[in-house]
C-alpha cells in the first residue's frame, strides 16, 4: 500500500502530523506489544492518559513514545467535569511540554459517552488558555459545530462507545459533521476492525483514532498494520470519488454492437 503520510499528510492546527491513523495506548498489555503495534501502525501521534505516578513502575511510556519518534497527545481520560479536565490538561502541558490535548469529559460511567455541556465549557477555557484542543464528542452535528465555534482545532466524534468495537453506528451523522466542518474530523472511539476505519475515511473523515481494536486484538501488530491499510484504502477511495448510489441498475456494458440486433 502506498505510504501517503508525506504526499497527503494529516494537518492539524497548521502542524503536519503525517499519518492519518492516530493510536491510543489504552489497553496495552505490555510495552513490547505496544511497541510492535505502534511501529506496525505507522502512526505519528499517540494518546496517553495522565495518572498518579506509580513508584513501583520500571518503564516510562514517555520514553517509549519518544524512542519511536511518536508525538504525545495527552488525554483527559477519566474526567467527569470541566474543572477536572482543565486541571488535567494543565498538568499534561507541564509534564509533556505540549499544548495539544485530547479533551475527554465523560457524562456516564457505563457508556463513557461525553457530557457535551461540560465538554464545551472545558474546551472554551482551554482554548482561552492557549491549548490546541482536540475534543472527543458524540456524533451530534450541533455539538460538533459548537466545539469548532469555540476554537477547537479538530472535532473527534465517536463511531460508537469506547471499547465497544461496534463501528460507526450513525454514518449519516458523521457525514453531516464532515460536510459542515472547517477543521479536521477524526473518527474517535468504537472502531472494531479495519473496515470500520476504512468506512470512516470514505465518509470524509481526515483521520481515525484507534485504541482497543488494536491493543486488545488477538495480534495487535497485525491489526495495527490492517488499520494502516484500511485508513489508506478509505482515504484513496474518498479522493477517487465514488459512484453515486442508484435505486436500480445502470448497465456497465453498452447495448450497441450486440449480436442479433
Amino acid at each position: 500500500m502506498t505510504d501517503t503520510a508525506t504526499s497527503d499528510p494529516l494537518v492539524i492546527a497548521g502542524t503536519v502530523v503525517g499519518s492519518r491513523l492516530i493510536m491510543g495506548t489504552g489497553g496495552m498489555t505490555s510495552p513490547e506489544s505496544l511497541t510492535g503495534a505502534l511501529t506496525a501502525s505507522g502512526t505519528a501521534l499517540a494518546t496517553v492518559a495522565v495518572r498518579r505516578v506509580d513508584p513501583t513502575t520500571r518503564h516510562s511510556l514517555v520514553d517509549l513514545l519518544d524512542g519511536l519518534g511518536i508525538r504525545i497527545l495527552p488525554n483527559t481520560a477519566g474526567c467527569y467535569t470541566a474543572t477536572d479536565a482543565v486541571l488535567t490538561a494543565r498538568l499534561a502541558r507541564e509534564a509533556f511540554a505540549t499544548d495539544w490535548v485530547k479533551l475527554e469529559v465523560i457524562g456516564d460511567d457505563r457508556t463513557l459517552l461525553p457530557d457535551p455541556i461540560e465538554l464545551v465549557l472545558a474546551a472554551e477555557q482551554l482554548v482561552d488558555d492557549g491549548f490546541v484542543v482536540l475534543p472527543y464528542c458524540g456524533d451530534d452535528p450541533v455539538v460538533a459545530r459548537r466545539l469548532e465555534q469555540v476554537g477547537c482545532a479538530a472535532v473527534m466524534p465517536l463511531g460508537s462507545p469506547i471499547g465497544s468495537g461496534l463501528g460507526i453506528r450513525n454514518p449519516h451523522n458523521i457525514e453531516l459533521i464532515v460536510e459542515q466542518a472547517g477543521v479536521p474530523v477524526v473518527l474517535d472511539a468504537g472502531i472494531g476492525t479495519a473496515s470500520d476505519a476504512c468506512l470512516a475515511m470514505e465518509l470524509g473523515c481526515s483521520a481515525v483514532l484507534v485504541a482497543t481494536a488494536v491493543t486488545r486484538a488477538g495480534d495487535p501488530s497485525l491489526m495495527a498494520a490492517a488499520m494502516r491499510d484500511g485508513v489508506a484504502a478509505g482515504r484513496a477511495a474518498r479522493l477517487a470519488g465514488r459512484i453515486t448510489r442508484r435505486f436500480v441498475a445502470e448497465a456497465s456494458s453498452s447495448f450497441e454492437g450486440m449480436v442479433g440486433q
Binding site: G24, V48, A49, R52, L61, P74, N75, A77, E94, A95
Partner: protein, 97 residues
C-alpha cells in the same frame, strides 16, 4: 498518631511530660504531614517539590505536580516548599486515551 501511656492504655496525641504542679504541659511537636497522591506523607523539614519528585520518580521527565489543584511550574520546583496539610498530586503518562 497513637502512643502507649505509662499504664499501658492507648493514648492519642502528645504525651504529658513531668512538670511542676500548676504549670501548663508543653505538647510535643506533631509530625508535619501532607497528602501525596491520596496518601498521608511525612514531610522532612525544608522539602521542596524537586525533593519530593526525586523521592517518588526515577526521573523528573514526563512528570507534573499540582499543589492544592494548582499546577506547579517546573521552573519553580527547586524553590517551592511543601507545606503541612497541602494536597499534592504527582502525575505522569499512563497507558490510556
Amino acid at each position: 498518631m497513637t502512643r502507649l501511656d505509662g499504664d499501658g492504655a492507648i493514648g492519642t496525641g502528645a504525651e504529658a511530660p513531668l512538670t511542676a504542679p500548676g504549670s501548663a504541659p508543653v505538647p510535643a511537636p506533631a509530625m508535619a504531614v501532607a497528602t501525596v497522591n491520596g496518601e498521608p506523607y511525612d514531610l522532612s523539614s525544608g522539602l521542596t517539590v524537586s525533593g519530593l519528585v526525586a523521592a517518588w520518580c526515577p526521573s523528573p521527565r514526563g512528570v507534573a505536580v499540582a499543589i492544592d489543584s494548582e499546577v506547579v511550574p517546573r521552573s519553580t520546583w527547586d524553590t517551592t516548599l511543601i507545606e503541612p496539610g497541602a494536597t499534592i498530586e504527582i502525575v505522569t503518562a499512563a497507558a490510556g486515551g
